[in-house]
């Protein structure tokens, strides 16, 4: 990479922040969005035996949290390598 070390560190951090923000938006939407703010609206839809909003509040949001962390782990490992800041 032809970037200087500082520039590389800066863009590593920028990409990290952008990616984290996207994941946090999803984190917020599945829990505070679907499970709390829009729960009454979503409850009119059925998901198996669940009202959809209720499902998000007691099941779906938790599954989403687990997936979010593992996606984060995977993406960050790639990002670390791309900018050559990974641990040996």
């Amino acid at each position: 990479m032809s970037l200087s070390k500082e520039e590389a560190a800066r863009s590593y951090w920028r990409e990290n922040l952008r990616f984290m923000l996207i994941l946090l938006v999803i984190w917020f939407s599945v829990s505070f969005g679907a499970g709390i703010l829009f729960v009454d609206f979503l409850d009119q839809f059925r998901f198996f035996g669940f009202p959809l909003g209720f499902w998000f509040a007691q099941q779906g949001s938790i599954y989403a949290f687990v997936v979010l962390i593992f996606v984060y782990v995977w993406k960050m490992n790639r990002l670390d390598r791309k900018y050559d800041v990974h641990e040996e």
Partner: protein, 588 residues
């Protein structure tokens, strides 16, 4: 073998296992004692974090709380899991890269201030003691229910076990016992859950059974529950009764509070690399999610069972488990209208827990409490939803024994994690860094052990003489963690401009506000503790969210007109933002 013998056998075997692990993994250096030499595999660390995090309350009480509050119980499910997303992305990898031993240590170095460090130590000790008092009590309660020993003797046995492996093994001992405790606990939780799911829906996976039809009918569990509740005058199980804003604030306070709890954060100091710190947050949540997605299913099944088998049944035909748990004082029936039939409707049948005297004409235990004006005759302790499950589902004695061992594992593992954090704060953050900087490593290690011993004694006293406010102060632990540590650590990592003045101002504002709000509504004017008086309709349980917001605002405002942090701090921040170079424990 009878159930009682099996319980002794299971509890005895698990205790022997914990002690065995403690002897095998005893700590020889401060690094081993504080952070297990940063050599814990991410899967092991994930399990340890799960056990550390899931307390007696998660194991025994949570399903019951959800069972009685329906949708409103979601605040605990989302609140106590969502924080791990914040931990994984905003805190864990960076704190691991920082590479020291404690949370106050980070606060002190990042904000180049001993004052900040001392404020942080006080918060750590306060939060951890608040929490640990409930755990020791939990150990005593499990003992008294299953082993027929006095609660106080139960607490003392629990203290002895924790003393053994926390003082001897430190973080290393605690980590590996927690791994074992996680396994015991999750197995104990899942077995009855699977059986009861099979019993009610025919589906062995509780998470799926939760959304299936009740066996032999076309009605879904949740619809059946709503219908049964409606007949008795309860609000819909799938709708809440809390306001949306309150649910929002409580969930946020619990999430942020989780991410700011020192005994959880410190677990991420024990991994070999930054990459492993991220990964172990994922495993931790995965292992926690197994229990947390099962709990609401258990809650719904247990409530369905309660509503179909108890209300409007005459006491003579009451199921056997009802009588068993009546003897234990967890259910009670007060025949207000003298018809011999159990009536169940919303509202408490009488104030407080039941006091019994003698036997009634149907063989029920007579309740001497002053009855309330409503028609409800049934008292049900929420803990019964987990404790009575094996009997309700007619499971063999070994499952009951398993629940006893699981409940003890949950309480002991959390207590040990908290006690370690307290002892570390005293020996490392107070003694080594403030009072006696020249202390040798050997002496520091001894100090840590003595501090752990003293902390166990204090926790035990709290367990034997529980302060009346234990139930109220849980809001404290989360509220204070949310209003103090979380913002300070996040700003310390994500802002290079945040300085000492800003951080201290933020912590002081956040703490003072949250502390006074909770003290006002819980202790000074408890009669005003309702939505009409709350700010913006936010209950004391959720006020930590507002405290956190005030912390951020105050910190940014103060930092904007005071001088920027010195250059070496700017370098420190740049350094913790990249993973490379995270070595083993730093000697210092």
């Amino acid at each position: 073998m009878d159930t009682q013998t099996l319980i002794y056998l299971f509890v005895g075997a698990t205790f022997a296992l914990y002690i065995g692990i403690a002897i095998w993994s005893r700590a020889g250096s401060t690094s081993e004692y504080y952070v297990a030499s940063k050599g814990v595999h991410p899967i092991a660390n994930g399990m340890a974090t799960g056990a550390d995090w899931m307390s007696a309350a998660s194991f025994i009480s949570m399903a019951g709380i959800i069972s009685f509050t329906g949708y409103d119980g979601s605040v605990y499910l989302m609140g106590w899991t969502g924080g791990y997303v914040l931990l994984a992305m905003c805190l864990a990898p960076y704190l691991r890269k920082f590479g020291k031993f404690t949370v106050p240590e980070f606060v002190g170095e990042r904000y180049y201030s001993q004052t900040a460090r001392v404020v942080a130590v006080i918060c750590v000790i306060f939060i951890s003691f608040t929490y640990v008092a409930g755990q020791m009590r939990g150990v005593g309660i499990v003992f008294s229910r299953y082993l027929q020993v006095d609660i106080n003797i139960g607490v003392i046995i629990g203290m002895a076990i924790v003393f053994f492996y926390a003082v001897l093994g430190g973080m290393k001992g605690i980590t590996y016992t927690q791994v074992a405790q996680y396994c015991v606990m999750i197995f104990a939780y899942m077995v009855p859950a699977i059986y009861i799911s099979l019993l009610i829906t025919g589906n062995p996976i509780p998470q799926l059974g939760f959304g299936s039809a009740v066996s032999g009918t076309d009605t879904y569990v949740l619809d059946a529950l709503n219908g049964l509740g409606a007949e008795l005058g309860f609000s819909q199980y799938t709708d809440g009764s809390k306001s949306t804003i309150d649910v929002f604030f409580i969930t946020m306070a619990l999430m942020v509070g989780t991410a700011g709890l020192p005994h959880v954060i410190v677990r991420f100091f024990t991994t070999p690399t930054v990459r492993d710190a991220r990964k172990s947050a994922g495993y931790a949540l995965l292992f926690i999610a197994i229990l947390y997605t099962t709990a609401p299913a258990v809650a719904a099944f247990a409530r369905t069972n309660l509503l179909t088998s108890i209300p409007n049944v005459s006491y003579e035909n009451i199921p056997e488990w009802f009588e068993t748990w009546e003897t234990a004082g967890l259910v009670a029936w007060q025949d207000k209208n003298n018809d011999g039939v159990v009536q169940y409707s919303p509202g408490a049948p009488f104030a407080g827990a039941p006091n019994f005297a003698g036997e009634g004409e149907y063989g029920q235990r007579l309740v001497t409490n002053e009855p309330t004006a409503n028609g409800n005759e049934l008292y049900v302790d929420r803990d019964i939803m987990v404790l009575a499950n094996p009997e309700i589902a007619d499971l063999p004695g070994w499952v009951v024994a398993l629940i006893a061992a699981g409940g003890l594992a949950a309480a002991l593992s959390t207590a040990a994690g908290l006690l370690l954090v307290i002892s570390t704060s005293v020996s490392h953050d107070l003694l080594k860094s403030n009072m006696m900087p020249n202390i040798t490593e050997k002496k520091e290690l001894l100090a840590a052990r003595v501090a752990a011993g003293v902390a166990i004694l204090i926790a035990g006293i709290f367990g034997i003489y529980p302060p009346a406010f234990v139930a109220q102060v849980v809001a404290f632990a989360f509220g204070l963690a949310a209003a103090s540590f979380f913002p300070v650590i996040v700003m310390g990592i994500f802002s290079k401009k945040m300085n000492k003045e800003g951080a201290i101002a933020g912590m002081v504002v956040g703490l003072t506000f949250t502390f006074s709000y909770i003290v006002f509504f819980k202790f000074i004017s408890p009669e005003m503790d309702n939505a009409a008086y709350w700010w913006f309709g936010v209950s004391p349980e959720g006020i930590g969210t507002l405290g956190m917001i005030f912390n951020f605002i105050a910190a940014v405002a103060v930092a904007s007109f005071t001088k920027a942090p010195p250059e070496h701090i700017q370098h420190l921040i740049e350094d913790i933002r990249v993973p490379r170079g995270a070595g083993g424990a730093v000697a210092h």
